[in-house]
């Protein structure tokens, strides 16, 4: 009997993902990590089974990166990725060869399941859905219970909805681009760590206290954290540079566009905004920083404005002339534009995934959820935040040796009356 050969699923990169293969270097690329810590140790065989069984449900994740003549594209993997034991530090470098096999990895260590994604696949929001569904599937295999498909957990037996696979940037782009030249931001100093070791300092903070503090300043938790971060960066800059050589201090905040537009995509659908202040114009109190950040974000994060910014990004992708430029020429140009603009608009990211919830049946098995973004190529620090079970985890990652920013940031939180517990991944060798 002749076996019918199934053609492989493939898809072009979404609009935001186009940049990531172009800007990766021999020692850096844009990878982020999401993990859950369960109450009991992980059973690797069952975890592998869960990873294997979810492949039909998440066709936009089980993909590998390939290069065409004009564009990169994503192609279905031949087999689900093998799970691996976690490394000594998060977000170890993902080589081109590894991306050519699969663009995400599944890691486990004791009672923790971690997923590390190359950013071409998805953003924090989409990846969280995948992680929750994978964890739910693992828990149901391990403990034989049925987990309902609520709170971001998808039904593993369903066929994927076409809306989950769409490039929402194309659908929601405005007719006219919103063009907004921005000033360059200050770049944090620091001597790079030898090798590729990334230092991670996690601040464990009671979510309620943080929320109450933000409420006191009349802003959201994201704005409060960004404002405190800006305050610390301002101090560092003041100590390092005379006033006339100082630059604006701006914090890059990713915005999940699923909250603004009716999209259910699991692929990239986020943009960043860069609220900030110029230290040459005077000094700022924390209250003033919170206020100005709140207003800047409110002015920027509207559906109309975001649609205009999406249009700005989508326009070159739709240009017929540019489409026909071979990838070998496109890549260096994209990289040059990114070097000139992409990373210079913010001092560091403060990426907040918000409050995560899990179905009630599953919550007793889960201890904590973590979200870690890698460092950018040119700026050495980054910060990512997620809240689960009333606990907010503030992960500060850095590629430099000195924890100066972390020290100032967490000490400031303590000063403001928020109790902070610190965990660090010290280098063992």
């Amino acid at each position: 009997m002749k076996r019918e050969r199934k053609s492989r699923v493939w898809m072009p990169l979404d609009n935001a993902a186009l940049i990531f293969p172009a800007i990766r270097r021999k020692n850096w690329n844009n990878v982020f990590r999401e993990s859950v810590t369960l109450k009991e140790d992980i059973d690797p065989a069952l975890l592998q089974q869960a990873v294997d069984e979810l492949m039909p449900r998440f066709p936009s994740f089980y993909l590998r990166l390939r290069r065409g003549v004009f564009w990169y594209y994503l192609e279905e993997v031949s087999a689900p990725p093998r799970i691996q034991e976690d490394y000594a530090y998060p977000l170890t470098f993902m080589t081109r060869r590894e991306m050519g096999r699969c663009c995400f990895r599944v890691l486990y260590f004791r009672n923790r399941i971690a997923l590390e994604f190359f950013h071409v696949l998805s953003d924090g929001g989409g990846a969280m859905t995948f992680l929750k569904t994978l964890t739910a599937h693992y828990v149901s295999l391990r403990y034989g219970i049925k987990i309902p498909s609520t709170d971001g957990v998808l039904d593993a037996s369903e066929t994927p909805n076409p809306g989950e696979l769409e490039d929402s940037f194309q659908r929601f782009a405005a007719d006219h681009a919103a063009f907004c030249p921005e000033a360059e931001a200050y770049r944090l100093p620091g001597r790079r760590e030898l090798g590729r070791f990334l230092h991670l300092i996690t601040g464990v903070v009671p979510g309620e206290d943080l929320h109450a503090l933000a409420h006191g300043y009349g802003c959201t938790v994201t704005v409060l954290l960004a404002a405190i971060m800006a305050e610390c960066v301002l101090t560092i800059q003041t100590e390092a540079l005379p006033k006339k050589r100082q630059k604006p201090v701006k914090i890059t905040i990713p915005v999940d566009l699923r909250r603004l537009f009716p999209s259910r995509t699991l692929r990239n659908f986020a943009l960043t905004v860069n609220p900030g202040v110029d230290p040459r114009l005077g000094s700022y109190t924390l209250q003033e920083l919170c206020d100005t950040f709140t207003h800047q974000l409110a002015a920027e994060i509207t559906p109309q404005r975001m649609a205009g910014r999406i249009a700005e990004n989508v326009e070159p992708q739709r240009n017929r002339l540019l489409k026909a430029v071979p990838i070998l020429l496109k890549t260096p140009v994209m990289r040059a534009v990114y070097n000139r603009r992409g990373e210079r608009l913010g001092c560091l990211n403060v990426s907040n995934l918000g409050v995560q919830k899990l179905p009630e049946a599953m919550a007793p098995f889960v201890d904590r959820m973590e979200f870690i973004i890698g460092v950018q190529y040119s700026y050495p620090n980054n910060c990512s935040v997620v809240t689960y079970g009333g606990v907010t985890l503030i992960n500060m990652i850095r590629s430099t040796q000195s924890p100066e920013l972390e020290r100032r940031f967490f000490s400031r939180l303590v000063e403001l009356g928020v109790p902070v517990s610190i965990e660090a991944n010290e280098e063992a060798r």
């Binding site: 034991e85 976690d86 490394y87 000594a88 530090y89 998060p90 170890t92 470098f93 260590f109 030249p181 090798g195 590729r196 300092i201 996690t202 601040g203 040059a336 534009v337 000139r340 603009r341 924890p403 972390e406 020290r407 967490f410 000490s411 303590v414 000063e415 109790p419 902070v420 517990s421 610190i422 965990e423 660090a424 991944n425 010290e426 063992a428 060798r429």
Partner: protein
């Protein structure tokens, strides 16, 4: 257990605060190791692939040089044309391939090495052909090029800011170098002095002066910034 300096709570068993490195001493918990949050598995960062490629390229080039020499020697009994192939290949190797042996090649080392190799190549060819153009033409020209290249790399690398002045100054120097080059051409080959180089010098000179002026006159610089930003 809290850090006395930062006020943050620390994990049991840590010896120093991860934020400020203040030593922690707590008589109640005693000596113990904190529970590791990560495994001790390090990724293997191999430079094996690049070294293998470099080694095989070296072997292939060496083999090609030996083959050329033996063919030329067997057919004509002399080195003949194989001399040019061998010295050019060697120069190519030192100029373009040598830096790839190293993980982080420093331009201030490898650019001078490249120019030295180029100089040596020209000296050998000049000597082999009996040409009398090395000392008065090839050497000064290479030296000028080397000085310009190394100087601009050093300035762009180590001087912060002032890009517009550096670029302007370099353009002026390039204009001047064109005239020098034609002067050496005249000295060696007896051609007419300053026929083409004067045009090049004027164009480079105008651009260079314009840039330096733009650096001095702030409104002009800001206008250019607005017009040409990417």
């Amino acid at each position: 257990m809290y850090c006395v300096r930062c006020g943050v709570k620390l994990q049991d068993g840590v010896k120093a605060c991860p934020l400020c490195a203040t030593p922690v001493w707590c008589p109640e918990t005693g000596e113990g190791e904190p529970a590791a949050t990560y495994s001790d598995r390090y990724p293997i960062i191999s430079r094996q692939k690049r070294l293998t490629v470099m080694a095989s390229l070296t072997v292939v080039l060496l083999a090609a040089m030996v083959a050329c020499f033996s063919i030329a020697y067997n057919t004509t009994g002399r080195m003949g044309w194989s001399f040019y192939v061998i010295v050019s290949t060697a120069a190519f190797y030192f100029i373009f391939l040598l830096p790839f042996w190293f993980r982080d090649p420093h331009p201030m080392i490898f650019v001078p090495v490249a120019f030295l190799s180029l100089c040596l190549l020209l000296l050998l060819i000049s000597g082999y052909t009996g040409g009398r153009w090395f000392l008065t033409f090839a050497l000064p020209l290479t030296a000028i090029l080397a000085a310009l290249t190394i100087g601009s790399i050093a300035l762009f690398r180590y001087v912060k800011g002032g890009t517009i002045f550096i670029t302007g100054g370099l353009l002026l120097l390039i204009g001047g170098s064109c005239m020098l080059a034609e002067f050496f051409e005249h000295l060696t080959f007896g051609t007419a002095m300053f026929t083409w180089s004067i045009y090049a010098a004027v164009v480079f000179g105008l651009f260079g002066t314009f840039l330096i002026l733009a650096g001095i006159i702030r409104p002009l610089r800001e206008y250019l910034d607005r017009q040409f930003f990417l």
